[in-house]
């Protein structure tokens, strides 16, 4: 209880009741809960820390073990200053910046975030962030369907993240929109197959691809966007923003919307959340965007100011006719990503991409040279992730990597397709040192 006994008595007297029970009398007697809640007793701060530490200690993580897991969540270098600045309580204990005069700090960082992610993706407008990468794809598709009002179909490449496809399936069922998935050809999206799946011009509202795709393959984004435009659909590209350090900006390749997961920039994976979805688009479509957007203006004295703008799109004003039901962003994660991008800067971002590219290719070459191992798509380009065909089931390889070598292995493709149980998806990032890669190669060699 915050209150002293005296304060409490004085407050009750001011209100004119004898007890809090009297105030709670507005809850009808027959539905009051009278017993103690069925849960364990309270813990002191010290007990709580020990309890949580015990739980944390039962996990194996990249804090203590080399990890080559990616598949949509990536470990990257993060400067200490990102942690320090995010811990400013003025950032993490503030609410949504609905009062601009009391929130310029958050609002300016949102404007910076929008500017940086647009520069990375080559797009014109971004929102303040979305729940995560998978729902960002869904929001992009729903935005496309608001623009292409007569469309009844959405086409998605099977190279998209299985979670994104799963979310599309769930959401589009509610909206009675047909979802057509297009199989990959040799690990990559075939633009002609996208067009073929789209049907008559106007049927399809959105064509979705991901690059690098779930198997790590760098897609021909321009060919896919052209295919989308041929059938009158919006071209949506889901992209790992870190890969865009060295890969062409989708905005330069014809994308109408670029989206994905940005928590790989400056955030920890946190067992899948909270992350930060991002969604960028063209200015002409801004009124169909979901969620918050910050914009620069001036105050009445002419001073530069940042506000939330285009709010008439949003649920608190439009209610049932809003562009989305979303009323939050992942502000703290986006803030971390913003500071991360600023600290790496124009040159550091490219260099970091180069480190990923170099280490992943070093690893891929070494693994492909091992007896029994080969790259699944040796002709395809990749950034920091690639598929390896394994001599034993990937699940067994992963188990023995952790048990015998203390290495967290890759993603077992049997989890998305039981027939692909001899394929291992390995991510090699700037967090995997040459020594770690050499140890992985040695271990895999021993398991052939």
């Amino acid at each position: 209880m915050q209150h002293t006994a005296d304060d409490r008595a004085a407050m009750l007297a001011t209100i004119g009741v004898d007890s809090v029970d009297d105030l709670m009398a507005c809850i009808p007697e027959d539905i009051r809960f009278n017993g103690p809640l069925p849960m364990e007793r309270s813990l002191t701060e010290d007990e709580l820390f020990r309890h949580l530490k015990q739980l944390a200690d039962r996990n194996i993580s990249a804090d203590s073990h080399p990890s080559f897991l990616g598949a949509g969540a990536y470990h990257h270098f993060c400067p200490a200053l990102v942690d320090n600045l995010q811990q400013r309580s003025e950032f993490w204990t503030a609410y949504t910046p609905y009062q601009p005069e009391a929130s310029q700090g958050s609002l300016i960082t949102i404007l910076e975030w929008q500017s940086m992610i647009c520069r990375v993706t080559g797009m014109e407008v971004s929102n303040a962030s979305l729940y995560d990468g998978a729902t960002a794809v869904v929001e992009a598709v729903m935005m496309a369907l608001r623009i292409k009002r007569k469309a009844t179909r959405v086409v998605v490449s099977e190279g998209a993240h299985p979670d994104a496809i799963g979310c599309l399936r769930t959401y589009l069922k509610q909206l009675k929109i047909e979802l057509v998935t297009v199989p990959l050809v040799d690990g990559a999206t075939d633009a002609a197959s996208l067009s073929a799946a789209a049907g008559e011009a106007g049927d399809t509202g959105a064509v979705v691809i991901q690059s690098p795709n779930f198997g790590g393959v760098v897609e021909d984004v321009k060919a896919a966007c052209d295919a989308a435009h041929e059938v009158g659909a919006m071209a949506i590209v889901s992209a790992n923003p870190v890969a865009l350090s060295v890969l062409e900006a989708p905005g330069k390749q014809g994308a109408d919307m670029v989206c994905g997961e940005a928590s790989c920039m400056g955030n920890q994976p946190w067992y899948g959340g909270p992350g930060a979805g991002y969604l960028c688009a063209r200015m002409q479509d801004v009124r169909q965007m979901p969620a918050r957007i910050a914009g620069e203006t001036v105050d009445r004295a002419g001073r530069r100011a940042v506000v939330l703008t285009f709010q008439t799109r949003e649920q608190h004003i439009r209610r049932a006719k809003a562009t989305s039901n979303i009323c939050t962003s992942q502000q703290l994660m986006a803030l971390r990503a913003t500071i991360w991008m600023a600290l790496l800067g124009k040159r550091g971002f490219v260099e970091l991409g180069g480190v990923n590219l170099s280490r992943a290719h070093y690893a891929a070459d070494a693994i492909a040279a091992l007896d029994g191992y080969q790259l699944v798509f040796p002709e395809r380009a990749f950034f920091n992730e690639f598929l390896v065909r394994t001599p034993r089931p990937a699940a067994e390889i992963n188990q023995r990597l952790i048990d015998e070598h203390g290495i967290i292995g890759g993603f077992d493709m049997a989890r998305v397709d039981p027939a692909r149980d001899h394929e291992l998806l390995l991510a090699v990032t700037d967090m995997n040192t040459a020594e770690q890669i050499d140890a992985l190669v040695l271990a895999l060699g021993a398991l052939s």
């Binding site: 993490w92 503030a94 703008t309």
Partner: protein, 549 residues
Amino acid sequence: MSTSTPPADERIAAGKPSALYASASDTQHGRLAMSQHDFTPSPAVGPSPESSGNTNPDVPELGEPPLTIFELTVPGRRGVLPPPAGVPAVDPASVLPDFARRSDPAELPEVGELDTQRHYTRLSTLNFSIANSFYPLGSCTMKYNPLINERVCALPGLGSLHPLQPDDQVQGMLELCWRTEELLKAVSGLDAVSLHPAAGAHGELTALMCMRAWLDDNDGAHKQVILVPDSAHGTNPASCTIAGFKSKELKSDARGRVDMGHLAQVIGDGKDIAGLMITNPSTLGLFEPNIAAICQAVHDAGGLVYMDGANMNAILGRTRPGDFGVDVMHFNLHKTFSQPHGGGGPGAGPIAVCDKLTPYLPVPKIAREDDGAGGHRFRVVESSEKSIGRTRGFMLHAGVMVRSYAYMRANGPEGLKDIADSAVLNGNYLRVRLREIFTCWIDEPCMHEFVATGRDLPNGVKTTDIAKRLIDYGVHPPTIYFPLIVPEALMIEPTETESKQTLDRFVEIMTTIREECDTRPETLKTAPHTRIIGRPDEVRAVKEPKVTV
């Protein structure tokens, strides 16, 4: 910076052009302001032209501070260097086809580490936050976020967990999440929990999808109408639309409760009624006295009852939604269970459901099994026959679960009930004290919050003017112009963690502002006067959009 600032006599402290990184504190308040010790991030160090105003002629005008970090860019300057490759460098041209290779680098800032630190430190001081201001933002539950939560979140083995690690590597995290589900079941009185939803509105949508699936399986495929009270959050009808339902407004009666006559009328023969979304306590801060009868009426029509749990802090341990007829609800872990709001996320909106909706919860789910050695092991179940499917990437906001789990365990059963008691005590204390100054819309005992109206203020002063003036006094404004059914609404939620002394000072400030409505209304209409900016031109932000720099 423009010099067309408001007249000096209208200002508590004038905003003067600031030097680069000049101020540790953007707020400086008059003698009635809530004390700097309590409400500002730290005392200003050195000259503070932003806040101390035109009082010191020795501080030269140095122009406007940079808006964004891009303005600090010096070509070639580096912040933090990434690690070296440590392996032979690969030329992108040798491994990436021409069409895929980046033609121009992303134009990110080129700034030093210290400049970056100062820039964001300064930006942080431009925010009101719980840590530096009283923040009575109705419906948002801006309460103290215990720091032990941040300490446990920093433990090795939590944040670095990868979502696709095999179950046997993440048993501690799975157990924590499973235990969080159990605690939410306990406080809701419902039968199963999904931790998937990333936010409250996402919980609404996920729940509506589960309701749709149950209806389809129970001869209700034709049912399209979800009743939503006119006092509801905007997310409720917006979520209905995305879930393929049609929302229909349910009128409140003169006392702000569901109009039972109108309820019977809109239900009619019930054949279209898919369900009801109700916030209880309502956004007016009132407990719905007929809640059991309302739930019964919806059930009789073959519909389901959804509860928006935004105001759960008012009823913890005092009543449970599952016990008064609710079939499904969402929690806002960022309101009730102390996940910090983060300046606008992350939050989390887990849902709790009754037995009949349990099979429809999204996948993956967490299952607890006997480990054969007298203990338990936890497993992630990827699919389930009747599940609505996947509604997000991976599984849950684990970082939010750690904080909310820690918060619930720290409080225990008595502590959670105390939260409700203190929230309701504070809400009523403030209501009774402010009732003398501002008109309360429904003048009767409330729960954790109440709604006042600025409708009858003199001299053309509006609610927004009161809100903006509060900023001058170092208080974050209440929620304004919501709920929509109250004209000129001021929705005030003190929360359970504020002391009587803080509430008393807030009353003192509100009293002063009310006097200012009579004595200097223009000061209010042009407030705030003490921040780095005054009222922004929001029309211009739409007409001449500048959404990137």
